[in-house]
């Protein structure tokens, strides 16, 4: 390793090594994110046309006023909210539940964990295609069992309610393991001695869970929530390959609406405004979780 004398001791003023180490990544990130960001903001105040080369016509707030009055987009926001709360909510409950379950199991815990983790490595496009395959009314495995048992006889992806539920469950299938993984790791840091002491005191499982386990994993759970939320707002691959928003717009969440505005209608200025709206929403959500973390003294 070539040693650099000016950096020895580290107390020197000017650009420190730490900052130098930070710079290459920051420069690259700035190029990759600032240009698109500024460009999108500019686009959102223009009518953008691709006909005869990209061209812009300044239209001021037009895209933005349309954003807040467009009933289709507002409907998509509402559907997104349902989708978001349902996916993230179910994933959190199931994820924490499965982690607690695994924590109680001794024999075969790691073998089970390996199996349970598998869905999170599957490409979302494949999850969607597989979901279609399993729910296909003609030869889908799940459709067959639902039909044979009489639990559900209508077409799963062809009926609004069950289509929404199905795409939610596909997302839940894929991402619950991530929550389980994070929470399980948090659980393993709860000191055993504390739990044993409580056990001797006669506290039952739920009392221990509430007063000892929960306080020590709450931070981890919020982090898991943060990680999942950020992606849950952005991702649309699963819906894209299954229902693509249908039937009757039942699954048209905002990223799908954004995609079609941008790449089906090529209404790029308006798409930019929708995209910025989504970004603002993500940042607000992230900020909120950050604040909770900070207040709990969990983040540095």
């Amino acid at each position: 390793m070539a040693s650099n004398t000016t950096e020895k001791g580290g107390g020197r003023r000017g650009i420190s090594l730490e900052t130098k180490m930070l710079l290459p990544a920051l420069v690259l990130l700035a190029v990759l994110s600032l240009f698109p960001f500024v460009y999108i903001i500019f686009m959102s105040f223009n009518t953008v046309s691709l006909i005869g080369g990209i061209s812009f016509e300044w239209t001021g707030m037009e895209n933005w006023t349309r954003l807040f009055t467009d009933s289709v987009v507002l409907g998509s926001w509402a559907r997104s909210a349902i989708y978001f709360i349902a996916t993230v909510g179910i994933e959190m409950v199931l994820g924490v539940g499965i982690a607690l379950l695994l924590n109680e199991i001794i024999a075969g815990r790691y073998a089970a964990l390996s199996l349970i983790l598998m869905p999170m490595f599957v490409a979302p496009v494949i999850v969607g295609l597989l979901g279609r395959f399993l729910t296909d009314s003609t030869y889908g495995l799940y459709a067959y069992f639902l039909n044979a048992t009489g639990l559900y006889t209508q077409d799963i992806l062809g009926t609004p309610g069950s289509a929404l539920l199905a795409v939610i469950l596909m997302d839940v299938w894929e991402w619950t393991p991530l929550i389980t993984l994070i929470v399980l790791a948090g659980l393993s840091s709860v000191p055993v001695s504390v739990l044993e002491a409580a056990n001797i005191d006669g506290a039952n499982y739920w009392q221990r869970l509430r007063h000892m386990v929960w306080p020590s994993i709450a931070g981890v759970v919020i982090v898991a929530l943060l990680i999942r939320s950020m992606d849950a707002i952005r991702y649309f691959d699963i819906i894209f390959v299954t229902t693509n928003g249908g039937p009757g717009n039942a699954t048209k969440i905002i990223p799908i609406r954004l995609y079609e505005t941008a790449f089906r209608f090529f209404d790029l200025g308006y798409a930019a405004a929708i995209g910025l709206g989504m970004l603002a929403f993500s940042i607000i959500v992230a900020n909120l979780f950050m604040r909770i973390l900070k207040n709990r003294g969990l983040a540095k």
Binding site: S3, L22, L32, L117
Partner: protein, 274 residues
């Protein structure tokens, strides 16, 4: 903890249910990829059939190997760059002191929140003038837009968790600042590095939206190949499940191989997350 027999039975019954829920779709996918077209389209699902390799054969005959190579290159190189720069920057961020550091940290992670469909057009224009369209290099760079902030974020959390006193001690003994990072801090965060690398690899290997826009005939990746099988002449479920197996198997194998690190890595990184 010790449990009574009844509790034990209940616990394992619950576990069985969870396993059924996670594993059945994957097992069904792998099984279906070995079924002949007639077995596949049977309206009564069956577990017993004469396995065939015809779908895999057809896929590789129609040039799937090229897609595998593109996927490996794009995801692999992008991961290496993201982890390298992420380690450097993550360390820098955790140890540097400057005004507005919190804002820089938040800016970094906020770049990962940008809606994919909105970023595609500006990136396309950027790539067009940089001559990066239809190339694996373009995909590598595109993947950095989400992998780099993620890597910096997680690595920063790992380094922040490491007491600076360890590096200070090394420097007292004559190590340079960089050596202290390289020999002391970096090895101690190995679980974090592995975790970051795996997750970056999975995210880029699985990408569809960027690849479908930026890749050309010579740089198509596996998820694109999968979506192309949905042709106008019918869904080829045999080949679809086969390609699904090919896309998923390596990631599951890699992921499970480092599961131990993953558990450690995620908590550490997460709890102290900036």
């Amino acid at each position: 903890m010790r449990h009574g027999t009844v509790t034990k039975v209940l616990l394992y019954a619950a576990l069985a249910l969870v396993l059924l829920w996670t594993v059945v779709p994957l097992v069904w996918m792998v099984l279906s990829s070995f079924k002949s077209p007639n077995d596949l389209l049977a309206t009564t699902p069956s577990l017993f059939f004469t396995p065939t390799l015809e779908h895999y054969g057809a896929l590789f005959q129609s040039g799937l190997w090229g897609y595998v190579q593109n996927s490996l290159l794009a995801a692999g190189i992008s991961t290496i760059i993201a982890v390298t720069l992420g380690c450097l920057a993550g360390y820098g961020l955790s140890r540097a002191h400057f005004r507005g550091k919190d804002h820089v940290a938040f800016w970094i992670i906020s770049t990962r929140m940008a809606p994919i469909a909105a970023v595609i057009l500006p990136l396309f224009i950027l790539f067009r003038y940089a001559g990066l369209l239809d190339s694996t290099l373009g995909l590598i760079i595109a993947y950095l837009t989400f992998n780099l902030p993620f890597a910096i974020w997680i690595m920063n959390a790992f380094f922040a968790d490491l007491p600076p006193s360890l590096e200070e001690a090394a420097m007292v003994e004559g190590a340079t600042r960089f050596e202290a990072f390289w020999r002391i801090a970096l090895p101690l965060t190995a679980p974090g590095i592995v975790t970051t690398a795996i997750l970056c690899l999975v995210f880029s290997w699985n990408d569809y939206a960027f690849a479908v826009t930026f890749a050309g005939p010579d740089s198509q990746t596996l998820p694109i190949a999968a979506s192309q099988l949905n042709t106008q002449t019918g869904l080829n479920w045999g080949q679809l499940t086969a390609i699904g197996t090919i896309v998923v198997a390596p990631m599951i194998l890699v992921g499970l191989a480092v599961r131990r690190y993953l558990v450690k890595g995620l908590t550490l990184g997460a709890v102290t997350g900036e």
